[in-house]
Structures are given as structure tokens and as C-alpha cells.
């Protein structure tokens, strides 16, 4: 199989690049080992579009973060991505020097972050009544936002797909070899040859880089654990609350999510295991104490789930983006740890530009720049909703009682481009199983819908592809 451009990895970065590249006349393919897009770090993070004051001026992190954050409002409208610019607060407690916030403010201004300002007690308490008593002031960044990372990644992927990019899911890259023109990418599904290779493999990007370059990279997986709270706790804070780095490391954030839950995390722990997305007893039990440094009265009984993601930390500490000097046609997009989600739109544009230049690509005339997400009946008026149900009665059948997701939405999630093929795929697209009962009620029903619509046997329905089957046989068959 021959392609102009092969992208390895369908996380938010790979998909953003694919979407930007699909503006060009080119034959693009994306290789992803999982059964769906958005299965790596892109599905397990804080979901913040950072304002951009964190990274040191002059770094790629600073540059792409600020650019990405500027691009997001328009992109969210264009691609129908749930996005809310709620602003963030970095809070300072009375034992921390004032200079820390001032340095952060200055750094932000150097990076080009607009509208930063320091808030004192009174205004701060008015904005956030649940801040810890020791909090005395905060850096306010009104351009910080929250986003749905699944929808963001899926939106990029769907739009790329509609514009001709081909996604090979369930395709694991084993090795890459230099070929006469370009590279041969060996996978468990055969060899893919490409003139340009884009390495967006997350925590594994060092592995692929090191196959083609003498100048080695080294990526460490740094685990971050979270607890997610019921929607009844969703208003506990109304901004993203960060802590200044302190005694307990980089600090734990407390934030509402775009869907109305409350998220607390992450921890930070280096692990040798690049598959180590497990949560730990120590990690989970430390979160409440860490968070209480900035936010009090967290309703710990309202936790509905916990999860962990792996940051791809490269030894240099910065993003590595560009053509590898001793491997022409091989573009690294490596070490994309936080603020990778925020930077993805800008990285996408940059890397697409690079590849287009290498291959002298021409822009398409018929690029479709917009995408409409899955219909969200809960946002319709009563009449609109009933119109929809009259046309498609499946929208009148609620399948997930916690999130009030209808069968119609699930059917749409399955049948759209790069549609869901597993319970998790459905969950990320329409939130069935994402609520307080965590799929206890709806999983058997979603399984039935998947089996009918895909179609497939009930025994073949999985949680997340591969060998994650849910039921193992029929009664009395064992």
C-alpha cells in the first residue's frame, strides 16, 4: 500500500495533523493500533485548553499553546466541539511568596497571553466560595477553557475522513525502514509505504524516531490519576483551579468539565510501563488531600469513576516537532505532553504545512471545513425534539438513564464516519455509560444496539476492541 503521507497515531495530535493535511491534494493514511481514535493520552487528561502562561518563553510549548488557544474558539464552532472558555485561576496560599504569581503573570505576558490579571481576596472569594481558607490571591486567565478531548479528537478525525484521509484502525506499527523513496512501515496488517512519515505515536514516538535516526530520543511515561465526580458536584467550582507548584509537586487541579462533572487530578509519577494506565491505591487516596490545598468541601462520596493517563515526557522537556535532520521525510511530533491538547490545533497546522512543503502539495478546491457533531436532543426545544422523534422514533427511546442518551444518538454514533464499534467508542461519542451508574444499566442495551447496527454477534461486542469481549458464551454452554 503506497501513500504520500503516513501518520502514525490517531490521538488528538495525529488527528489534528490529518485534518489539516486533508486540505491538500494528497493521499494520506493514519495508522492506529487501537480500534478507535482517541485511545491514548488524548482520552485521559485534564481537558483544559491552557491560556499559555506556564511554559517558558521561547519554547515550542509556549508558542503552540498560545496559538492553539487562540484557534480553539473558531475551531470549536467549525467542528462542533463542546468548548467553554470558563477561565482559570492559579491560586496562591498564604505561605507562598507573592513573587510566584507575579513571575507567572510576567511569563504569560511574554508568551502573549491576553487579559491576565491578579485577583485579591475579595474578588476571588466572590468568584469561588469553595476556595481553601489559606488561599490569598490568584492569577486569573480568562482565555483558559475546558473542552471535550474525545469530541475534539473525533471531530478532527471525522473531518479528515470526510476529506479523504484513510484511517487504518487495529493496525500496530512494528518497525520502520528507509526505502528508495520514503519509508516502509511494517505493521501487523502488512507494509505501508509512504513518502513522508509523521510520527505522532505518543509515548512510543521515541521508539519510531530511534529506528530512523542516530540522534536518540527518550520518552518517559508519567502517570496522572484522576477522580471524576457526579454532575451534582459539577458546580463546586466555576473556573479551573490550579495550584502553584509547592511541597506536593506540581499541584492538583479542580475543574468543571464541559459536560458538567467535576474533575480532580492529576498525580504525577514516572513509570517504566508505557501501558501503565492503571490507577493506584496511593494515587487515588492522595487526591483528596492534595486538592484540599486549594478547594475545600469536596464531596468525596460523589466520585463516580477514576482513571489515569500517561504523559509523554521527553528528556529535553520541550515538544519535538519537525523533520528529523538525519532522516529526510520523517517528521517527529514527539514529547507532546501537556499542553499538548491545547497545542494540537496549532501543531496540526504547522506539521501539515511542513509536509505540504516537502511534497509541494496543492490545496484542494473542495475541502469541507465544517462538521456537525452527533445531534444532542437535550439541547433542542420540546417541539424540535418531538419533530425529530416523529421522523426517527429511536430518539424517543432513552437508553442511558444517567446521561439521558437516546437510542437515536447511539445509532448515529455507530453509523457516522469512523463510527463507534465498541461500548467505549459509544461512550466517548454520546456519553452512554459515562454517568453515575457507569454503564450498569445501559451496557446490555448498548451491546444489543451495536450487535444489531454494525451488525455483529453479541459475543463479538467488546468494551474497547481486541480481546475485551464482554460476554463469553450463552447460558449452559460452558
Amino acid at each position: 500500500m503506497y501513500h504520500d503521507i503516513i501518520i502514525i497515531g490517531a490521538g488528538v495530535v495525529g488527528c489534528a495533523i490529518a485534518r489539516e493535511l486533508s486540505r491538500y491534494e494528497a493521499d494520506i493514511c493514519v495508522l492506529e493500533r487501537e480500534e478507535d481514535v482517541c485511545c491514548g493520552a488524548s482520552k485521559a487528561n485534564s481537558a483544559i485548553i491552557h491560556a499559555g502562561y506556564d511554559a517558558l518563553p521561547g519554547t515550542l510549548k509556549a508558542k503552540f499553546n498560545v496559538l492553539g488557544s487562540q484557534m480553539m474558539p473558531r475551531l470549536a464552532a467549525e467542528l462542533d466541539i463542546p468548548f467553554r472558555p470558563i477561565g482559570s485561576l492559579v491560586v496562591r496560599t498564604k505561605d507562598q511568596p507573592e513573587t510566584l504569581l507575579e513571575e507567572l503573570l510576567e511569563r504569560g505576558q511574554k508568551n502573549g497571553v491576553p487579559k491576565l490579571r491578579i485577583l485579591e481576596q475579595e474578588e476571588l472569594r466572590r468568584l469561588e466560595p469553595n476556595l481553601a481558607p489559606d488561599v490569598v490571591s490568584a492569577l486569573y486567565a480568562p482565555t483558559a477553557a475546558i473542552v471535550c478531548p474525545f469530541h475534539m479528537t473525533i471531530a478532527f478525525a471525522e473531518n479528515a475522513c470526510v476529506n479523504g484521509a484513510i484511517f487504518h484502525l487495529n493496525t500496530t506499527v512494528d518497525r520502520i525502514e528507509k526505502a528508495a523513496s520514503g519509508y516502509d512501515v511494517h505493521t501487523d496488517q502488512g507494509i505501508f509505504s509512504g513518502r513522508v512519515i509523521i510520527n505522532a505515536a505518543g509515548v512510543y514516538a521515541d521508539r519510531f524516531h530511534n529506528m530512523v535516526s542516530a540522534d536518540k530520543l527518550h520518552i518517559t511515561a508519567r502517570r496522572g490519576e484522576y477522580q471524576l465526580f457526579d454532575k451534582t458536584a459539577g458546580n463546586h467550582v466555576s473556573h479551573t483551579i490550579f495550584q502553584l507548584p509547592g511541597k506536593m509537586g506540581k499541584g492538583t487541579l479542580v475543574t468543571p468539565t464541559v459536560h458538567g462533572n467535576l474533575l480532580v487530578g492529576p498525580t504525577a509519577e514516572d513509570t517504566e510501563n508505557k501501558e501503565g494506565t492503571n490507577t493506584t491505591l496511593e494515587g487515588l487516596s492522595s487526591l483528596a488531600a492534595r486538592a484540599s490545598l486549594s478547594v475545600v468541601n469536596l464531596p468525596m462520596r460523589q466520585v463516580i469513576t477514576s482513571f489515569a493517563g500517561l504523559r509523554a515526557h521527553e528528556d529535553s522537556g520541550d515538544f519535538i516537532i519537525g523533520e528529523v535532520s538525519d532522516a529526510p521525510g520523517f517528521i517527529d511530533v514527539a514529547g507532546i505532553e501537556s499542553p499538548g491538547l491545547s497545542s494540537a490545533p496549532a501543531i496540526g497546522a504547522e506539521v501539515a504545512g511542513l509536509a505540504a512543503e516537502l511534497l509541494s502539495l496543492k490545496k484542494k478546491q473542495d475541502f469541507v471545513s465544517t462538521r456537525t457533531g452527533i445531534c444532542r436532543p437535550s439541547e433542542l426545544s420540546l417541539e424540535q425534539r418531538n419533530d425529530l422523534i416523529r421522523k426517527q422514533p429511536a430518539y424517543g427511546n432513552i437508553v442511558c438513564r444517567c446521561e439521558m442518551v437516546s437510542e437515536g444518538e447511539i445509532i448515529d454514533a455507530i453509523h457516522r464516519p469512523l463510527g463507534a464499534r465498541s461500548l467505549d467508542g459509544v461512550k466517548r461519542r454520546v456519553r452512554a455509560g459515562m454517568g453515575r451508574c457507569q454503564g450498569g444499566f445501559c451496557s446490555p442495551r448498548v451491546m444489543e444496539i451495536l450487535a444489531r447496527e454494525v451488525p455483529m454477534d453479541m459475543l463479538a461486542v467488546t468494551k474497547s476492541g481486541g480481546r475485551s469481549g464482554i460476554v463469553c458464551g450463552y447460558n449452559k454452554e460452558l
Binding site: 422523534i389 432513552i398 450498569g440 460476554v471
Partner: protein, 418 residues
């Protein structure tokens, strides 16, 4: 908007019995709303024996027990809508519901009975660390898969929690050919009924490990193993006591949570101990004309009690609809004290109460040879000895109207264990 005298939310045993009682007490215009494809609630998946010993003096299966009430409701000509999800209830008793045929619609009612049942506590709520593979089920979900859909969730099973559903499923899965390796229970006692421990675990040589919990789940795609450890008196795992079990399935039977999201929308006050509404002797919630019964009010282990409670709710709702709200404003509160976790109801209207009132409650630990002491304004007035009381089994006392009439100034009744 269509108007009803009474709308019942949920067509499980509670909703059906409540609707029937309301009709028998003179309410004409009743509607039952049920989200599932058939009435009967959770009973439809409980195909084991053991229902109805109190109500019918015979041992029925869950579906058989439900069938008796479905028949009754049909005989009484009470309409119900199936496949209909109630999405909202307001304080002024407007019910918003949705189904395929009618779309989203609103109804109004003079009175509402909440009978939505409960849901199971999920892995997330239990904060169990580890990976998040396939093969982790709440016991009730597994029960539905096995008993209603005909699928086996796995072959080698570990069960966390000794609640009744977990115990029943241990037996069920064993009979279906799976190997249940162990049941781990966080508490030093089982949360289930004694008879279930004997009939579902002991009879099949399934070990029950008390004071144990799951500390790790391994497996990226599907559960590969589950590690359990002993816990100390505070429920914290004791390092060094970890034991790993190879298995492909973990069932969770760690408690039920009354499903009160709708009640909250209507402004109904909840008891943080039960997660169910706070009710008076008429099973009326803090919102006038909204009543509650069954598992939505507090978790029951025996459906017979659900039926009894629901009939009371139906009768009281009928009185409210036909005779109007209570006029006498005097109240006596019922307060749980030493050893008692909660009571239902939590207050009495002495001017309106019936001849007798059953107060149900649960104890917080195992008590042997202890007494249930009832106090009126601090003075013990009754003491009943019980050989054994356990958190898994509901207890009750009966208060008589004629007794209370002798205490015209009574403010508070407390119940404690001694």
C-alpha cells in the same frame, strides 16, 4: 396537558402495589409510567425462589411474584405506559416523560408516588484501583445478562461484596458452569440475608472472606486477575495480606443507592443515610402530595415489605387526593439513636396517623442478645429483646395510635439498641 389524580413513577413491585391500593381506596384517574419494556421492575431478573413468603405464604420466583401484581393492576383497569422514561418532575407536580410514540410530553397530577427503585454502586464509586478492562460487572447487570438475555459474563469469577444480589449470582453462575473463586466482603459481617449465605455460598463451598477488599485489578483488555487484601478496623488494606486470584470476571455487589435524581428535581428533601426521601407516617415527602415507597425510599431485602409499604403509600395518596392535605400541624419526630442508622418514617402526624404504624430501620453492626429500646422524649417506654440483629436485615417496631394519644405533649421518639 393531560391531568391525572395520581401518577406513579416506576412499575416495579412498589409502583404496582401503590397504584392498586390507590384504586382500591377510590382514586379514579391513575397512570403508571415505566421505562422498561415490561412491568415488574427488578423482579423480572430475579428468577430464583424466595419471594412472597410473607405476602402469599408461598415461595414464588421474582417474575411470578410480579405477575400477581401485574394481573391485579390490569384487573383494576389501571393504565400504564411502558418504554416510557420519566425525565423530570417539578414541585408543582408536572411530570415530563418521553417514549417513541408520543415523543416528549408533560402531564400534571394532584399527587405523585415515587417508586423508581435503586441502582447499584459502581466500581468508580468504590474507588477500586487498577486497570479498567472488560469483565467488571455490577452483580445486577450480570444478573440481567444471564437471566434475561441468556449470556454468560465470564468463566472464572471473583465477587466483591456479600450483598444479596452477589450471593444469588454466586450460586447462579456456579449452576451455569462458571467457577466462583471467592466472595470478598469489606465489612466484618455479610451485608446479605443469612439464608442466602447458606444456600448460595456454603452449599457450593464458595469461600467468603470477611474484612477483605479488592486492591488491584490487572488486565488491559479483559480482567486477568484480581488482588484482594485484608482490611483493618478502618477499612484500610493491610500491607502483606494481598492474595491474587486469576479470573476473567469481577462482580460487584457493594450496595444499592436509591435512585432519587428525579426527586431532587422536584425539591424533595433526602436523608443522607438512606439517600432516599425523608417521609412522614403517610410516606409523604417534604413536598406535599409527593409520596415514596419501595427501594427508592430505602433499600429493602424482602419484596414483601416493599409491597406492604407501597400499599400504604397508595392508600395515603388516595386520602390526600380525596380528602385534601393534612390539617393538624402537630408533629412527633422519630430519631435513630445508638446502633440505629435510620428510621422510615422520620416523623409522625399524631392527628392523622392510622391505628398502627410500622417504623422500619436498620442497625449499624451485628448485635447479639440485645434489645430495641423505644423512648418517648428520652423515657424508655418499650424494650424488645432480639437474639440477633444484623445490618443486612431490616428491623421494625410498631407504634399504636392509642398509645401516642396518652402523650399529648410528646415531641420526639427515639429508637436505640441496648
Amino acid at each position: 396537558m393531560e391531568n391525572y389524580d395520581l401518577i406513579v413513577i416506576g412499575g416495579g413491585p412498589a409502583g404496582l402495589a401503590a397504584a392498586a391500593a390507590a384504586r382500591e381506596n377510590g382514586v379514579e384517574n391513575i397512570l403508571v409510567l415505566e421505562r422498561d419494556k415490561e412491568p415488574g421492575g427488578i423482579l423480572n431478573q430475579c428468577i430464583h425462589n424466595g419471594f412472597g413468603l410473607h405476602t402469599f405464604q408461598e415461595e414464588l420466583t421474582g417474575p411470578e411474584y410480579a405477575a400477581r401484581f401485574i394481573e391485579k393492576v390490569e384487573k383494576l383497569d389501571i393504565p400504564y405506559l411502558l418504554n416510557t422514561m420519566v425525565m423530570d418532575i417539578t414541585e408543582d407536580k408536572i411530570v415530563t416523560a418521553m417514549n417513541r410514540e408520543k415523543g416528549m410530553f408533560q402531564l400534571s397530577a394532584k399527587a405523585i408516588i415515587l417508586a423508581m427503585g435503586c441502582r447499584e454502586r459502581s466500581r468508580g464509586a468504590l474507588n477500586i484501583p487498577g486497570y479498567r478492562p472488560a469483565g467488571i460487572f455490577s452483580a445486577g447487570t450480570a444478573q440481567r445478562l444471564v437471566n434475561m438475555e441468556g449470556y454468560m459474563p465470564g468463566k472464572e469469577v471473583v465477587i466483591l461484596g456479600s450483598g444479596d444480589i452477589g450471593l444469588i449470582m454466586a450460586r447462579r453462575l456456579t449452576l451455569e458452569g462458571a467457577k466462583v473463586k471467592v466472595v470478598a466482603e469489606l465489612m466484618p459481617y455479610s451485608g446479605g440475608l443469612k439464608r442466602n449465605i447458606v444456600q448460595c455460598l456454603n452449599d457450593f463451598d464458595i469461600p467468603l472472606k470477611l474484612s477483605h477488599t479488592v486492591v488491584d485489578i490487572d488486565g488491559k483488555d479483559r480482567v486477568k486477575s484480581v488482588t484482594i487484601a485484608e482490611v483493618d478496623a478502618d477499612g484500610k488494606p493491610i500491607p502483606g495480606t494481598e492474595e491474587s486470584y486469576c479470573c476473567d470476571t469481577l462482580l460487584l455487589s457493594c450496595g444499592l443507592i436509591p435512585e432519587n435524581e428525579l426527586s431532587k428535581n422536584a425539591g424533595v428533601a433526602l436523608n443522607p443515610v438512606t439517600s432516599g426521601p425523608i417521609v412522614n407516617d403517610a410516606l409523604e415527602t417534604s413536598v406535599e402530595g409527593i409520596f415514596a415507597c419501595g427501594n427508592v425510599l430505602h433499600v429493602h431485602d424482602l419484596v414483601d415489605y416493599v409491597t406492604e409499604e407501597a400499599s400504604n403509600a397508595g392508600r395515603h395518596a388516595a386520602a390526600y387526593i380525596l380528602k385534601g392535605a393534612a390539617t393538624d400541624t402537630r408533629r412527633i419526630s422519630i430519631t435513630p439513636a445508638d446502633g440505629v442508622r435510620y428510621t422510615v418514617p422520620s416523623c409522625i402526624r399524631p392527628g392523622h396517623m392510622e391505628e398502627t404504624l410500622t417504623v422500619r430501620f436498620r442497625v449499624g453492626a451485628i448485635y447479639k442478645n440485645s434489645s430495641i429500646v423505644t423512648c418517648f422524649d428520652g423515657e424508655p417506654v418499650n424494650r424488645r429483646r432480639r437474639p440477633v440483629m444484623a445490618p443486612g436485615e431490616m428491623e421494625s417496631i410498631v407504634l399504636e395510635r392509642k398509645t401516642l394519644e396518652k402523650y399529648p405533649d410528646l415531641k420526639e421518639i427515639t429508637i436505640r439498641i441496648e
